[in-house]
C-alpha cells in the first residue's frame, strides 16, 4: 500500500489511488505546480490544507493556516499577481469573510493561476447556515467549477489553474459536504513545472482599483468572461445525454447529480430521461440548457441549495418561442424542497412521480421502523470528558446563579464553546458567526440592557475576527466581560494550530502571539488569565471582571482534553481516572455532577443509585472533585 505522502508526490502518470475529494484537490494543486496555499480550518474543506501540509516542505510549497479567510485569499491571490500559482481553501461562510477582496480580484485580475476552493454545507450540519456559494461566483462574476466525485475534483481543479492563468481571473471550485467527504479511485496525472519565483511589476492601471481604473477594469472583466464562455464551450464540459425520444430532462450538479444518476439507473430511466450534468456553475452552459429546453416537454432541476440553475433556465426559456420549451420543475413550484440537503430518496421519488416508473422498493414493516426510531437513544454533540470549557462555563453558571439569579447575557461564538449551550450547562445563549460575540455584547451594553453582559469566544476565533470588535469595545468603553476560552488549539475542526500556539501548519516551531499581550496592547485595563481547570479561581476572575466599569477580559486557559488524550496515547502512558467514593456520594438526592456539571465521564450507576466515573473517558482534569461539595470525588490510585 502506498502512503498518502507518496501518492501526493508520485510522478507515476496513470497510477490509481483511493483518495477523498479533499485529498484529490490537494493532489490537483500539486499537479498544477502550486506555490502558495492558504486556508482557514472549517468543515468540509480542512483536509485539503492538512494533506498539503504533509508534503509542503518536500515540494517547496508555502502552506499556511491563515489568520482568517480574507487574509488567506489576499496572500494567495497576491502571490498569483506576482505570477506564481496560488490556492486558498475555505468553507462557505469563510467566503463571506473573504468576499471584500474577492469582489476586487475580478477587476485587478491575476497573472499566475489562482484557485479558490469553497466547501458548502447544504443542511448546515456543521455551520450556521446553508448558503450557496454559487451565488458568490455570480456576484463576483468569476468562473466556478462544481465536481461530483474525487476524480472530477482533481480534473476540474487542475483545469481551474490552467483556465485562471489563461483568463487572468481567479477561478472558484465549489464542493459540498457530501462530495468533500466522499472517496473514490482517482487516476494521477503528471506534475507540472510552474513558476517558482514571483515578480512584482508595478501597474497602477490594474492594481490601483478605484474610480476610472475600476470602470475600465470592469469592462475588461466582462470581456474576459465572454472569453471564458467561449473557452468553456470548446472544452466540452457539462455533458448532455439526450436522445430524441426523451420527453423529460434532468439538470443537475454536484452531489445532486450523483443522486440523479443513481436514480436514473435504479429506475431504468436511461431511455426515458435526458440528463445534463452541469460542471460550470458560472457561467452556466446556455447552449446546452437551451437545447434541452427545446427538446423536452418537462425539465426537473436538481441542485443544492438555491434554485440558481432553475431560475437561469426560466430566463433562457423567455428567449425561446412560446410553447416551444419545456415546463420547468424544481424548487420554485415545490417539486423539490426549497431548503436543506437533497438525498437519493427525495430525488428518486420525484423521478418516479414524474415518469410513472415505480420504485423497486424494499418493503420494511413500518411498525418495525417506528419502534426502532423510538428506541434509538439520542447521541448529540457534547463537550468532551475533561474539556476545559466545562470548568469555565460551570464557574460562570454558578456565578450568575449567585449574583443575578442566573440572569446574564452570554453571547457565544463559533467553535466548541457553542456546545456549552447544550444541557446540562445551558450557559451560552447564542451563536452567529466568527467573532460576532464581542461586538454583539457591546451592542447590548450600548442598548442599555441591564444585565451582566459576557461575550464568550474561543482562541482561534479571537485571532480570526475578535480583535477588531475588542478595539471597538475599548474605544467606546463598553461595559462587557470578554471571556476568551483558550484551549490552545482550533479544536472543533480537528486541532489545527493558530497564531497563539507557536506551531505552523507544517508543524514547525514559529513565533507565538500571546492573547494576553494583544489584549493589553489594545488597551483593555482589566485583564486576568485564569486556569479553566480551577473553578473557584475562574469564578472569582469573572466576578471581578464583571464589576470592572468598562471592557474587561478574562482569558480562561486550559488545554483541550483531546490533545491531552492524544499525547498520553502517543507516550503509551495511562491516564489515571478520578473515582467516586460511593459511601460519600449522596446519590439521587444530589446529582449535581450529572445534572448541572455534565462531564461525559461521570455516569449514573442505576444499580447502586450513585454516580460513578468511566475510567476510559476520564483524563484526570480534577474539575469534578471541586464540583462535589461532599468531597465524594477524588483521584484514583490506579487506572
Amino acid at each position: 500500500m502506498v502512503p498518502l505522502e507518496r501518492t501526493l508526490t508520485a510522478s507515476a502518470v496513470g497510477e490509481r489511488a483511493l483518495l477523498m475529494t479533499n485529498q484529490a484537490i490537494a493532489r490537483a494543486a500539486i499537479e498544477a505546480g502550486v506555490k502558495i496555499v492558504t486556508g482557514y480550518p472549517g468543515t468540509p474543506t480542512s483536509e485539503i490544507i492538512e494533506t498539503l501540509a504533509l508534503v509542503a516542505d518536500s515540494l517547496g510549497i508555502h502552506v499556511e493556516w491563515a489568520v482568517n479567510e480574507k487574509v488567506g485569499l489576499e496572500i494567495a491571490s497576491t502571490a498569483a499577481i506576482a505570477g506564481v500559482r496560488g490556492m486558498t481553501v475555505m468553507k462557505h461562510v469563510g467566503l463571506n469573510v473573504a468576499s471584500d477582496i474577492l469582489m476586487v480580484l475580478g477587476l485587478s485580475g491575476v497573472n499566475g493561476g489562482m484557485v479558490i476552493v469553497v466547501g458548502d454545507d447544504p443542511g448546515g450540519w456543521v455551520s450556521q447556515n446553508e448558503q450557496d456559494s454559487r451565488l458568490f461566483a455570480r456576484m463576483a462574476d468569476l468562473p466556478m467549477f462544481e465536481p461530483s466525485t474525487p476524480q472530477e475534483a482533481l480534473r476540474m481543479t487542475l483545469r481551474a489553474f490552467e483556465l485562471s492563468e489563461r483568463l487572468k481571473l481567479p477561478i472558484l471550485v465549489r464542493t459540498t459536504l457530501k462530495v468533500s467527504h466522499s472517496s473514490g479511485i482517482v487516476t494521477l496525472g503528471p506534475i507540472a513545472k510552474s513558476k517558482t519565483k514571483g515578480e512584482y511589476v508595478k501597474d497602477t492601471s490594474r492594481y490601483y482599483v478605484a474610480d476610472v481604473v475600476a470602470q475600465a477594469r470592469h469592462e475588461w472583466q466582462h470581456k474576459q468572461m465572454q472569453q471564458a464562455r467561449a473557452i468553456l464551450k470548446s472544452l466540452n464540459l457539462n455533458p448532455l445525454y439526450l436522445k430524441k425520444s426523451q420527453k423529460l430532462g434532468i439538470v443537475a450538479s454536484g452531489a445532486a447529480y450523483n443522486y440523479a444518476a443513481e436514480a436514473v439507473r435504479n429506475l431504468n430511466l436511461q431511455h426515458k430521461v435526458a440528463l445534463l450534468k452541469v460542471e460550470t456553475s458560472h457561467p452556466l452552459p446556455d447552449d446546452k440548457m437551451k437545447k434541452l429546453l427545446r427538446s423536452t416537454k418537462e425539465l426537473l432541476v436538481v441542485e443544492e441549495t438555491e434554485p440558481l440553475m432553475e431560475d437561469h433556465l426560466r430566463m433562457l426559456s423567455y428567449e425561446l418561442p412560446q410553447g416551444h420549451h419545456a415546463i420547468i420543475h424544481g424548487k420554485r413550484d415545490g417539486a423539490l424542497p426549497e431548503t436543506n440537503e437533497l438525498s437519493y430518496e427525495i430525488v428518486a421519488s420525484r423521478f418516479s412521480r414524474l415518469t410513472g416508473v415505480r420504485q423497486r422498493q424494499n418493503k420494511v414493516e413500518s411498525d418495525a421502523r417506528l419502534a426502532i426510531a423510538e428506541a434509538v437513544p439520542p447521541r448529540g454533540w457534547t463537550l468532551c470528558a475533561g474539556c476545559p470549557h466545562i470548568g469555565t462555563f460551570y464557574a460562570l453558571k454558578m456565578l450568575a446563579r449567585k449574583t443575578t439569579k442566573g440572569r446574564i447575557a452570554n453571547l457565544g461564538d463559533i467553535g466548541c464553546i457553542g456546545l456549552a449551550a447544550l444541557p446540562p450547562l445551558e450557559n451560552v445563549d447564542s451563536s452567529f458567526c466568527m467573532g460576532s460575540s464581542i461586538a454583539q455584547a457591546s451592542g447590548l451594553a450600548y442598548a442599555g440592557v441591564d444585565l451582566p453582559i459576557v461575550a464568550s469566544i474561543g482562541d482561534s476565533t479571537f485571532f480570526h475576527s475578535g480583535i477588531t470588535p475588542l478595539i471597538d469595545a475599548v474605544v467606546n468603553n463598553a461595559h462587557v466581560c470578554i471571556l476568551i476560552c483558550d484551549n490552545e488549539t482550533t479544536a472543533m475542526t480537528g486541532h489545527q494550530p493558530h497564531p497563539g500556539i507557536g506551531v505552523s501548519a507544517t508543524g514547525k516551531s514559529t513565533r507565538k502571539v500571546e492573547i494576553e499581550d494583544v489584549v493589553r496592547a489594545i488597551g483593555v485595563e482589566h485583564v486576568e488569565t485564569t486556569n479553566s481547570f480551577d473553578i473557584i479561581e475562574t469564578y472569582r476572575a469573572i466576578d471581578r471582571a464583571l464589576k470592572h466599569d468598562g471592557p474587561s477580559v478574562v482569558i480562561s486557559k486550559g488545554r483541550c482534553a483531546e490533545i491531552t488524550r492524544r499525547e498520553a496515547r502517543k507516550l503509551g502512558a495511562a491516564l489515571l481516572s478520578f473515582v467516586v467514593h460511593s459511601e460519600k456520594c449522596k446519590g439521587a438526592a444530589c446529582m449535581v455532577c450529572i445534572r448541572e456539571f455534565g462531564c461525559p465521564a461521570i455516569i449514573w450507576n442505576g444499580a447502586s443509585g450513585k454516580a460513578a466515573i468511566e475510567p476510559s473517558l476520564c483524563v484526570s482534569c480534577g474539575l469534578c472533585a471541586d464540583v462535589c461539595v461532599f468531597r465524594a470525588i477524588g483521584p484514583g490510585l490506579s487506572s
Binding site: 500500500m1 490509481r16 489511488a17 483511493l18 477523498m20 468543515t43 450540519w125 456543521v126 466525485t149 457530501k178 467527504h181 466522499s182 472517496s183 473514490g184 479511485i185 452531489a255 450523483n258 443522486y259 444518476a261 443513481e262 439507473r265 438525498s343 437519493y344 430518496e345 428518486a348 422498493q361 424494499n362 418493503k363 420494511v364 414493516e365 418495525a368 421502523r369 419502534a371 426502532i372 428506541a375 434509538v376 437513544p377 439520542p378 447521541r379 448529540g380 454533540w381 457534547t382 468532551c384 466548541c416 444541557p423 479544536a491 472543533m492 475542526t493 480537528g494 486541532h495 483531546e562 446529582m591 450529572i594 445534572r595 455534565g598 461525559p600 461521570i602 455516569i603 449514573w604 476510559s616
Partner: protein, 210 residues
C-alpha cells in the same frame, strides 16, 4: 460477488470506523474493483455517531440508498439501530454488543434500550443477525481499541466481501502503525473465528459458509 456490494459501517467517534472503510477501500483498489466511500462524521470531538458507506462495484452516488445495504457492520449496538434503515431486508447484520452510552443517557435524559430489545427490533428487519462481544475479543487480542478489526474479521468470515482474506490482511498490515500490526491482525482473526463459531451454532445460517 454480485455486481455490486453495499456496506454500511455504524459506530461512535473514536471507534476506528473510518479505518475500516479505508482498509476495505484499499483492498478493492488493489483488486481492481470500483468503489466509492461516503463518510459522515460531525465535528472532531469524540462520542458522536459516525457512519461510513462503502459501495463496491459501479455506483453513481457514494451514499447507499435506504434499504439497499447488503451488510450492516455495527461497532456499537444502538448505532446498529440508528443506521438500520440502510439495511436491505434480510441483509447481513453484524453487531458488537458492548454499548457506549451517550451523554444524554449518562445524565438520565434518555434511556438506552436493553440488548434484548435491540435484538428483537433488528430481527424484525433481518434473520441474518449476529450479535456478539467484539469488545471482549479486542481485549483478548491485546487492545480494546481493536474492536473495529474484530468486526472486520467477522465480516470477512461471512464470505460476502469480494476479496480473499489474505488481501484484507495485507491492507491491514499496511494501514495500521507498524507496532500495532500484530494486535490488529490478531483481533481480525479472533473476529473471524468468533463468527464462524457463532454461525455453526445457528444452523439456519450455515449457508454463509458455503
Amino acid at each position: 460477488m454480485r455486481d455490486r456490494f453495499d456496506l454500511v459501517i455504524a459506530g461512535v467517534g473514536g471507534q476506528g470506523n473510518l479505518l475500516l472503510s479505508r482498509i476495505i477501500g484499499e483492498t478493492a483498489l488493489r483488486s481492481n474493483i470500483d468503489l466509492q466511500i461516503s463518510e459522515t462524521f460531525g465535528a472532531a470531538q469524540r462520542g458522536s455517531a459516525v457512519v461510513s458507506h462503502v459501495r463496491l462495484g459501479k455506483s453513481y452516488s457514494p451514499v447507499v440508498p435506504f434499504g439497499m445495504a447488503q451488510a450492516l457492520l455495527a461497532l456499537e449496538p444502538a448505532e446498529a439501530l440508528r443506521q438500520s434503515h440502510f439495511l436491505a431486508p434480510d441483509g447481513l447484520a453484524l453487531v458488537n454488543i458492548k454499548p457506549i452510552m451517550s451523554v444524554e443517557v449518562l445524565s438520565g435524559r434518555a434511556t438506552y434500550p436493553s440488548l434484548e430489545v435491540i435484538r428483537n427490533l433488528l430481527s424484525k428487519l433481518t434473520s441474518d443477525l449476529h450479535m456478539f462481544d467484539a469488545q471482549g475479543l479486542a481485549v483478548e487480542a491485546g487492545d480494546p481499541r481493536t474492536v473495529n478489526l474484530v468486526m472486520l474479521g467477522a465480516l470477512d468470515a461471512c464470505s460476502v466481501l469480494p476479496f480473499r482474506t489474505e488481501n484484507l490482511r495485507n491492507s491491514i498490515s499496511s494501514l495500521v502503525p507498524s507496532n500495532m500490526i500484530e494486535v490488529n491482525l490478531k483481533a481480525f482473526d479472533l473476529g473471524r473465528v468468533a463468527l464462524l463459531r457463532l454461525v455453526k451454532l445457528e444452523p439456519s445460517d450455515s449457508a454463509l459458509l458455503s
